[in-house]
């Protein structure tokens, strides 16, 4: 007797068939919870913060006056705040560029030259700092960069402390010691975010077929030309993806400027201060729009360069 496909009789089977027939319900069940998280918890809390920027802080009692107003937005566009934004964007850009310079050779070596075991060890090495606490790493760098710290000690032993003093006397980036200067902040930022730059570049480089490089050499290209014409264009998506990490993370960071540097405010620090110190949540919320706007522009640019193709 032929076995026909009859309706299943088990409960689970019936449920499965029901869901198969009702596509909308199936989607709702599958996406419901994640969407609730994303839109409700994440998007909702972000939105409730940004809505605060249309309120105003009562000057004495420190409570928020919830009548919609634009006075907080007017307080946002002062030269002091624009300086803060400019300072943060400059630092983020510098960190991103230098991270690319450091990460690219490293990623290239991991992809092209490392044997399988060495490759695994190197990727592990790049990821290892991420296993320890962020604060521990930042405070350790404060000690390393200090005037009495190990870098100073080492350079003195080598007789190079004159060079260090000359660097610290540079007008903008120098300071009394490495730990109290933009240069020190820059070093710590690059260190902290480097893993986030190495890995996307390495992923992108993995996808460059070896045959392309050989073909390029066969056609008479020198290594420099091969790099410029073949490798770099193919690696750009990875570089853009990594730069999104380093740029946005530097833009919003408020812990490193607190511990390292000369207390000059960065965007994250101003938002933190305005909310925590001044209780001025409306101004903090208005200021939060600044990195959002900057990142929106940056992401559009990155999308043009193909950063999201690597996903």
């Amino acid at each position: 007797m032929a076995v026909t496909a009859s309706s299943p009789t088990s409960a689970l089977g019936r449920l499965s068939a029901f869901l198969y027939r009702h596509r909308a319900l199936r989607l709702l069940l599958m996406l419901g919870l994640p969407l609730l998280w994303l839109v409700g918890l994440y998007g909702g809390s972000l939105l409730s913060l940004l809505v605060q920027s249309f309120f105003r802080l009562d000057s004495f009692s420190g409570t928020i006056d919830r009548t919609p107003t634009l006075t907080t937005w007017r307080d946002l566009f002062t030269s002091a705040n624009m300086t803060v934004a400019g300072r943060t964007v400059t630092m983020a850009a510098a960190v991103t560029l230098f991270s690319i310079v450091l990460a690219f050779p490293l990623a290239y070596y991991i992809t092209r030259y490392a044997s399988r075991r060495v490759k695994a060890l190197m990727v592990l090495g790049v990821l290892l700092p991420l296993w320890s606490s962020y604060l521990v790493r930042v405070y350790s760098w404060k000690l390393i960069l200090a005037a009495e710290g190990i870098i100073n000690w080492f350079l003195t032993r080598l007789g190079l402390d004159g060079a260090l003093d000359a660097i610290l006397r540079l007008p903008l980036v120098g300071g009394p010691s490495l730990s109290v200067s933009y240069l020190g902040q820059f070093i710590v930022f690059v260190y902290i975010w480097l893993p986030f730059m190495v890995l996307p570049i390495q992923t992108a480089l993995e996808r460059v077929p070896r045959s392309y490089l050989e073909a390029s050499a066969d056609l008479g290209a020198r290594p420099g030309t091969t790099f410029r014409r073949v490798i770099w264009p193919l690696a750009i998506p990875g570089v853009a993806a990594g730069s999104i990490f380093t740029f946005s993370l530097t833009l919003g960071d408020y812990i490193i400027p607190t511990v390292i540097g000369d207390s000059s405010p960065f965007i994250g620090l101003v938002i933190y201060s305005q909310q925590g110190v001044a209780g001025n949540l409306p101004l903090a919320a208005a200021f939060a729009f600044v990195p959002i706007a900057i990142m929106a522009g940056y992401l559009t640019l990155a999308r043009r360069l193909g950063a999201f193709e690597a996903l």
Partner: protein, 388 residues
Amino acid sequence: MKWRGIVLLAVIALITVACGTGADSGDDGGATLPTEIGEGEGQVNIVAWAGYIEEGAVDPNYDWVTQFETDTGCQVNVKTAGTSDEMVALMTGSSEFDLVTASGDASNRLISGGTVQEINTDLIEGWSTVDERLQNAPWHTVGGKHYGVPYQWGANVLMYNTEVFGATPPDSWSVVFAEQTLPDGETNKGRVQAYDGPIYVADAALFMGVQNPYALNDDQYKAALDLLREQRKLVGRYWHDAFIQIDDFTNEGVAASSSWPFQVNILQAGGAPIASVVPKEGATGWADTTMMHSKAPHPNCAYEWLNHSISAKLQGDLASWFGSVPAVPSSCQGNDLLTAEGCTINGLENFDKIKFWQTPTEDCSGAGGTCVPYYRWVTDYLAVIGGR
């Protein structure tokens, strides 16, 4: 496509409405004063300055929490804050904390915002032992009602490195305000620090000789800001966290800074070449009061702690640890950790010389005239730190 947009807009509108009319702080609900301390709730959450509430973690001799926890069954949870503004933000932002050790520049804000509740002083056994100058102090007594129990008081001292100053210790705040060559032959540029709380504008005003540094008219305020902008070029880093400052004095070669006796004590205990002084211009200071949140989740344990906070042993131990002066003068005697001269060393006689922190208000604290209110201090001081 149309549906997605509509659903998204609906969600956004819903959330905006929900938080626009969201939970408001401050509504007291017309609570009446408790007449007795009931059963403990098992824990008490306190917002405090670093070093104010110790349970022997740093030095086992300094522990005034463990015995309290055993006696009352109330677990003490401490949240440290670096500035008064942080404390105000923590207390107004949630009703998670029961108590706060508020300085005078936070206490009035908390009272007028309805964030703290009136204390029934009949329930505080040792109330009569509290220093009479503090019992009805304006920063915690408003309209005859007491809003807290005094805890400690002290000055913002000038802490300096004795190796830099050698035989000529500093006697003026000019070492942190004016560029000069220090006794060790090097400039003070990059080797001094300043407090990163906006209340520090009062220290600049004090250095300029203003009588009440918390009631500044526009001219005095502008002059103070100019002084602070000059100071910005000398300051290496603005200090916010006591322990980061301790690290800076140890590892960064900082020569002088305003500080609390707490950091001085810890550095000296570690053998560092540090000393402190109250300069000839005087000093700003703080007189802290433990206040209770108007919606404290553990009111009975809070009252237990309030009673414990003015017990003689705690007051003496804390004064010895922090370098402050107890709110209960009798605790100066008979404490081994504090020793007989402890209170004098910590500045017992300086009470009248100290300009205690208070919140600058537009009405010059009731003295008449127009003064610059605190929210402008905040914005302008943050700008000064930013180099503007």
